[in-house]
Symmetry: C2
Subunit: 193 residues, 2 copies
């Protein structure tokens, strides 16, 4: 998606440790006008997939999932990281290692909110090594629902997580796909080559 | 807001420890159609306040802030809980004790995203003892911005946090204001009495 790529090139910052900082418009501060357009684009891509629920994971996925859900007119379920005092014990769960934070979280979804009747679109902000997305697809599998695909805002394609999941049959649509990035050469998208 | 009160009465569950569980539509699973109407109502209430930024705190505030921000056409900034590897050191911060989770978090906002030019609407899902809202108003104060007010989805008025903050001059608009709740008597809103 050209609009998003241009914005990442303009306002994204490549940091040591393979980190792309998009805090000024996609994370921490959110450009809602842009997010609304991303939501509309996810709808264009998946509108024929019979989606009746959107699944994401707190915290940074929630904004994108909500903006997309307005177009789909379906509820959002967000997986929670670690057990909360007011979540029932009856949950689907999966272990997810966070690349950015260097910690392993248990992500959980109450059994009440996913069932075999559901056709689920997974939405998340980043896809890199694929650990978070693998955790979310695992939760969908446990519930007996169908994962119709995943809508990702930024894929770091060079980390290979997306292609491993595609090879397993998951449809993944990434609005910006980075094939390389560095301080010297900047950010190269798949649409550049 | 009648629509919200009716939904809380229908789908909310009062649990031991003064917990109101609204997981099926406001937290964990999100009824986006309802959230869109809450966002529109916050806009109706604060549209003349010159709001140019909405501030909330991760994770559960993000959805409400985003849905409101669409109407205001302003960016959202969400305060982060605890220090993340890719947040700059240059932050405003405040300590917040969570009633639900029984832990104390440091909430932080990068200095880049709040300044004396900003007129900030704070949005959050719950207001009970007022600790989270006090933390967010403290962050706005540190930045030199103006807090034009706070939009709250559910206020547990009987805990007194809202009235303490109102007494300090903060305008607070709560879409549902609970004056008492118990397993036996159910939920009583201020509009009931």
């Amino acid at each position: 998606m050209k609009l998003l790529e241009e914005r990442i090139r303009l306002a994204g910052k490549v940091k040591d440790g393979d980190i792309l900082k998009v805090d000024s418009f996609l994370n921490h501060q959110l450009d809602i006008e842009l997010l609304d357009k991303l939501g509309e684009e996810f709808y264009r891509l998946f509108k024929d997939s019979g989606v009746n629920k959107i699944l994401t994971v707190e915290a940074s996925g929630i904004a994108f999932a909500c903006m997309a859900a307005r177009y789909f007119k379906v509820p959002v379920v967000f997986a929670k990281k670690s057990r909360s005092a007011n979540i029932s014990e009856d949950v689907y769960k999966s272990e997810v290692r966070s690349f950015t934070h260097g910690v392993t979280n248990t992500v959980i979804v109450s059994r009440e909110y996913l069932s075999p009747k559901d056709r689920v679109l997974i939405i998340d902000d980043f896809l890199a090594n694929g650990k978070a997305l693998t955790g979310l697809t695992d939760i969908v599998r446990q519930s007996g629902a169908v994962a119709v695909g995943a809508g990702i805002v930024i894929e770091k394609a060079y980390q290979g997580g997306g292609d491993r999941l595609r090879a397993n049959g998951l449809r993944i649509e990434s609005l910006a796909k980075i094939v390389s990035m560095s301080d010297e050469d900047g950010i190269i998208f798949d649409s550049d080559i």
